[in-house]
Symmetry: C2
Subunit: 394 residues, 2 copies
């Protein structure tokens, strides 16, 4: 090993993903094995992603991690599982220029420092842990030159946070629940890449950026233990929906896609409500958004927008195309008007050109933030669709 | 028949009932046959009841009805079914003093006038149609001297509004779904009378007195057609719960009673949410009430209060005893304080003595309204438990 002064660093950026067929319920709490398959869409990393820098140096005397600038403990089983699994796959690293040489066996003795940053609210039902663990595993794999492909890495990220396994690909991704007791076949595969259905536009209506009262982990466990509907959903309903959803995505059939997406979101929240004590992730504003979309879709005769809600009140709205997205923005601004002194630049972020299409001129062009240095994002993770953020003033 | 000037009148009062194991879904829309058994508690008629006067006179040239002072059409199938079934069971009536004699066959030619009044908001999820149709059928049966007992009358009331069949008894009542295609065995039976468990105190928190957006009839039909959880609930979950609930009531086991009541209310609303488009009867205030009760029950270690919500946001809260009811009132007034200029006499109605127990002195004694004349309430319908109304200022 080289002298003690060197530091090797890798920075990676990983987008979050939103399930359109939901994951809710584990059959194995430790290995994080789900009770059903799930399918997600990967979001544009420009506005909803985790950026993680991992560093290794002989001068580090323990593994440490900072999340959004605040040190957090790595002692939890989920972090330990990810670190152990990646270390077991670490390979020799040599950087002659910097005088670094790390043999395969050295990784057991070296410690890592991790700095992770979410560019969106943590634990508000926007799948922050999905992007977080996917990014951690991906960055560590690059740092340690692990040779596993993203499919194999997904099975490791899964042990950090179940839905993290779906964040290692762009486009539409399926998490196969698997059958093996050791979880080796519970991993993510890409169904189609982000180019397959690129007319879709995703708009997120942020109803609240507060942390949710019931964490997904606790809520899911309570549902498995107490809901009398969950197993029926997992065994009888979801398997059929997964097939239908794969067909809808393959054929770019927005009508079926929207119907399945909305129905599955509602059924997931139904199972939460059937839990004892009941879990409410949606609130009256979420309900108003649903009613607004349902009425619009009904009046058009064919769905224009699908909605889905994760473990929080924020709406993820998937518009059929740019025209529908423009109309959606108009409807949202009409139903949930910003206060008169609101800065629309902070009220709505994302691709401002859609706002201009929607007839809203009071938007300055804002420079995109410069990308962080030395980003190792895999190509599949890049831009899927436009993304908007309606900030909470309602 | 006597000369044209006479009028024969009967007035009846019928309480509403609240299901603790819910009815949601019909297997026959016309006969109103349910997909599962249900169990209800009958409320004190003093504060939540229908008062109906039915009159017959040779001078009436058509059947007419007034609901809360406004004439409504009787042409609907539900009214026609009830009128037809009761007329078919009409018997000879003689009142020598008034010079009235109606032969069995005369009833086919005579018309009735019906005046019905609810002392609570109509169609706000407080089962107004249940009390309404039960009272109509009961009053008509008395008017026409039908010899059927309340069990048999319940099968007629069921054809007006399903849950009406449970309002013909006090105490706890079970609506047996039946098997016969003609619905003849789909009727209500009393499980225990109102004296069996008389320490229970019911408090209704009126969150909104507005009419609900989705009527029970429409919502139920949509659920049967679109919810993939409803049949599982009806076939697998409810039959077991019915048995457990009967046991809990028989043994006055409040712990089991509360657990089953809350779980079944939540599951009913879960099925509503699983409907396409989703139905939301509860709102954020309903959720706050549930959280408040769940936290309290959890902190006490044993349930103090059960909650159940029908097709609306109003909470029906069943307290274990008077002490728990007193504490509940205190908690509700603390969590949902009346505005400073609110008249507590209208904010809280019912047995004011519980308010005094709760340390709230600013309550005048209000005279009970005089009872309407010539009430033919059957004895089983009388007082079951105290009842409160928290008016909407939240």
């Amino acid at each position: 090993m080289a002298e003690k002064t060197w530091v090797r660093m890798v920075t990676a950026q990983t987008p979050t993903n939103i399930a359109v067929i939901k994951y809710w319920g584990k059959r194995d709490e430790t290995l994080i094995l789900p009770v059903n398959d799930s399918i997600s869409v990967t979001l544009d990393p420009a506005h909803l992603c985790t950026i993680t820098t991992v560093a290794v140096s002989p001068s580090f005397d323990q593994d440490r991690m900072w999340l959004n600038g605040k040190e957090i403990s790595l002692s939890g089983g989920r972090y330990q599982n990810c670190l152990r699994e990646i270390r077991a796959r670490a390979c020799e690293v040599e950087d002659k220029e910097k005088g670094i040489k790390i043999a395969k066996n050295d990784w057991e003795k070296l410690h890592v420092h991790v700095a992770s940053y979410n560019n969106f609210p943590t634990a508000a039902g926007l799948a922050s842990s999905a992007a977080g663990f996917a990014c951690l595993v991906f960055a560590l794999a690059k740092l340690m030159k692990a040779k596993e492909d993203n499919c194999e890495l997904s099975a490791i990220a899964r042990q950090g946070s179940g839905s993290a396994c779906r964040s290692l690909f762009g486009g539409f991704v399926k998490w196969i629940m698997g059958k093996a007791e050791d979880g080796s076949d519970s991993l993510a595969v890409q169904l189609v890449d982000e180019k397959h259905w690129d007319e879709l536009v995703i708009i997120i209506a942020v109803v609240s950026s507060r942390q949710k009262e019931t964490s997904s982990t606790t809520g899911m466990r309570d549902s498995v233990e107490t809901s009398l509907l969950l197993q029926h959903r997992a065994k009888e309903v979801v398997p059929k929906r997964i097939k239908q959803m794969e067909e809808a995505i393959k054929n770019r059939d927005f009508g079926s896609f929207a119907q399945l997406t909305c129905a599955d979101s509602n059924q997931f929240h139904a199972v939460c409500l059937d839990t004892c004590p009941p879990i409410f992730y949606m609130n009256d504003t979420s309900h108003r958004i649903i009613s607004c979309v349902e009425k619009w879709n009904c009046s058009e005769g064919t769905p224009q927008v699908a909605y889905t809600f994760d473990a929080g009140p924020n709406a993820v709205l998937i518009a059929h195309n740019r025209k529908a997205a423009t109309q959606l923005i108009q409807k949202l601004l009409f139903c949930f008007p910003p206060s008169s002194d609101a800065d629309l630049n902070s009220y709505v972020i994302g691709d401002k050109s859609i706002l201009k299409d929607a007839g809203i001129e009071d938007i300055m062009d804002v420079e995109a933030l410069p990308p962080p240095p030395e980003i190792k994002g895999c190509p599949e993770m890049q831009r899927r669709c436009e993304l908007f953020h309606l900030y909470e003033t309602w």
